[in-house]
């Protein structure tokens, strides 16, 4: 099965019943598969007039209690930024799939890249935190997309599935699990204020049409949901909670594969470049070389680095100019070697093996 189709199947298995989107290479197959399948499940597919409208419709659908998603690539992702901030501020669960292609601008529509990894974390205005997953196989397009809905519902935020053209268009065997674990958003208890958080820093969800009478606004709001845009403390408390509800859970939700934790040299990767690293490990058969493969990139859990206590060097191949290398540099005093690559082709495993020879 193709990666993009597996992504759509994973969403359907997770109970996604609304897709709003706008065609863009190399993500279009996700929309096309949803257009084919959603009507048969009683769900809704709608092709909107642009990506701004797509994410808007997804957010609207989510307030009716539906699991909702969209899929896009760089230019469309850029258009979504303002409304993604709205989803953060209003605590709206939704899933946004970005099949990354080469940018800036129209760039390389049919070629892979990981150039939007910082945009998904910082691209909308104001301070916030984000959750981003990065599949490295067709199987993970299915599994991680399904998991994205659980994370979106649990934290009430947009969750990003940051894939790339290689994984989106690759064909591999998919094992469809009998059941997909589903953990839904918790409902607001009647009588509670709609934006007063529980101990997990997340408030219960007041679904539209259930008699909550909730006012939802992108303005800074108090626990009643009422605009309160000039009180410094209300704003500070709200924004800090929106960040903390994600950041305080970063160890709990960390998801990765670890190979050779006693290694001195450790590759760190996510998405497509993981495939090149796996090839290097397979070819060299060195047990002094480790691999940390991130399935969940944001929020980055720095505690994962200490799972390699003997590591002296981290080598980080990315299909960008070092976006996540920069994050890792900030958390370690070990040597960090970014291996940036642009243009759309994956790192050549023999180049990575050569680099390994030079380092150790």
């Amino acid at each position: 099965m193709q990666g993009n189709t597996a992504c759509a199947e994973g969403a359907l298995a997770a109970g996604c019943r609304f897709f709003g989107g706008y065609p863009i290479t190399p993500s279009t197959e996700v929309a096309e598969h949803m257009a084919l399948k959603l009507p048969k499940t009683g769900g809704v597919f709608i092709q909107m007039e642009d990506e701004i409208a797509s994410i808007a419709a997804v957010i609207g659908a989510s307030w009716t209690g539906m699991r909702a998603m969209t899929a896009t690539s760089g230019p469309g992702f850029s258009l979504m930024m303002e409304n993604l901030g709205f989803a953060v501020m209003t605590e709206t669960p939704c899933v946004v799939v970005n099949i990354q292609r080469g940018g800036p601008s129209t760039g390389q529509p049919t070629m892979a890249a990981q150039g939007d990894m910082l945009q998904c974390r910082f691209g909308s205005h104001g301070d916030y935190s984000a959750i981003a997953l990065s599949p490295a196989s067709v199987q993970e397009m299915y599994d991680l997309t399904a998991e994205a809905f659980n994370l979106a519902d649990r934290f009430r935020i947009p969750v990003f599935v940051m894939a790339d053209e290689i994984i989106g268009h690759m064909r591999e065997k998919l094992v469809v699990p009998d059941t997909v674990l589903r953990v839904d958003r918790k409902p607001l208890q009647k009588g509670n204020l709609p934006f007063r958080a529980d101990d997990d820093l997340v408030p219960g969800f007041p679904t539209f049409g259930k008699g909550y009478g909730v006012h939802v606004t992108g303005l800074t709001h108090d626990e009643r949901g009422y605009p309160c845009a000039t009180s410094p403390s209300v704003h500070e408390d709200l924004v800090k909670r929106l960040v903390d509800k994600v950041e305080s859970a970063r160890d709990a939700i960390a998801s990765c594969d670890i190979v050779n934790p006693e290694a001195q040299v450790v590759f760190i990767s996510y998405g497509a470049p993981s495939r090149a690293v796996q090839q290097v490990l397979h070819d060299t058969r060195r047990d002094d070389v480790g691999h940390l493969r991130l399935k969940l990139v944001w929020p980055f859990a720095e505690s994962l680095l200490s799972r390699f206590p003997d590591a002296e060097t981290f080598i980080i191949p990315e299909l960008n100019l070092g976006q996540i290398s920069r994050e890792i540099e900030r958390h370690t005093d070990r040597t960090v070697i970014p291996v940036p690559k642009l243009g759309g082709a994956l790192h050549d495993p023999s180049d990575l093996a050569g680099l390994l020879e030079e380092v150790a």
Binding site: M48, A56, A57, T64, F208, G209, G213, H215, V216
Partner: protein
């Protein structure tokens, strides 16, 4: 019930200036909703950004106060996901016709079952009186200090041409007619568009020779021309002055609607 039962009293006082026309439109809309006998639980108000778009915050139902220009796109998602909800959009001339123009025409084309009420004050009220797509030629604003040199949009013409099932225009002077038009919009399946011309004494009136609030309402009264009469005048070959405001029902038809339960 009366329209007053729909207000969120713990949010008063509201932010509107003394003499603002938006309150009239909110009252007319809530009266129409109340006449429909709808429940608060099944009614949702959606808006974008602007003075006009603050209206949902004063209403007790579920409401979504979204981003500038995008209300119709958000409302489309709500209505498609749950067609049992009655969805009403409040918007302004800038919100609807400038930044949100594309969502407006596509909402009409889809004929999605929404009722969109535009408070057209011919100005950007919230940001302090800049020109909008409906600012009349020659009118003064902070960004047209020498008079606007652009043509104004005919919002109703746009909605009718793009395919909306119900289209009507009135002003804050025409309270009874406006209420009836909103009600007709609520009753009609598909996209209903009601344009209400309103006075903005703070940012439009005082710059454009309406020294008192009533001066602009008086102007609406004296310059309103019922569409039937306008059509007759055209048939008779009479010229309709450019500054006349054509009021009345401008489209009513039954194209297939989206977002209704089959």
């Amino acid at each position: 019930m009366t329209y007053e039962d729909w207000f969120r009293e713990d949010r008063l006082p509201h932010i509107y200036c003394v003499g603002c026309g938006n309150g009239t439109v909110i009252n007319c809309t809530l009266s129409a909703v109340d006449q429909m006998g709808w429940n608060k639980e099944e009614t949702v108000f959606v808006s974008g950004i602007g003075c006009s778009s603050r209206a949902p915050g004063y209403i007790v139902t579920d409401s979504l106060h979204t981003t500038h220009g995008r209300a119709i796109a958000f409302a489309t998602g709500i209505k498609m996901a749950n067609p049992d909800l009655k969805v009403i959009v409040f918007t302004g001339d800038g919100d609807l016709a400038a930044i949100g123009g594309n969502h407006f025409i596509h909402g009409c084309r889809r004929n999605i079952d929404l009722t969109v009420v535009c408070m057209n004050n011919m100005i950007y009220g919230m940001t302090g009186g800049q020109g909008s797509p409906t600012t009349p030629p020659g009118a003064l604003s902070t960004t047209t200090p020498y008079g606007s040199r652009e043509a104004a949009f005919d919002l109703c013409g746009l909605a009718a041409a793009a395919g909306a099932n119900y289209v009507a225009r009135y002003t804050s002077y025409h309270v009874t007619e406006l209420t009836r038009a909103v009600r007709a919009g609520l009753e009609s399946p598909g996209f209903s568009f009601i344009e209400a011309l309103v006075q903005c004494p703070t940012n439009y009136g005082r710059r454009n020779k309406f020294r008192q609030v009533l001066d602009q309402i008086e102007y609406f009264k004296s310059h309103a021309l019922l569409v039937q009469k306008a059509n007759r005048m055209r048939e008779e070959g009479k010229k309709i002055p450019d500054d006349m405001i054509i009021i009345g029902e401008l489209a009513r038809r039954n194209r297939p609607a989206l977002g209704v339960r089959k």
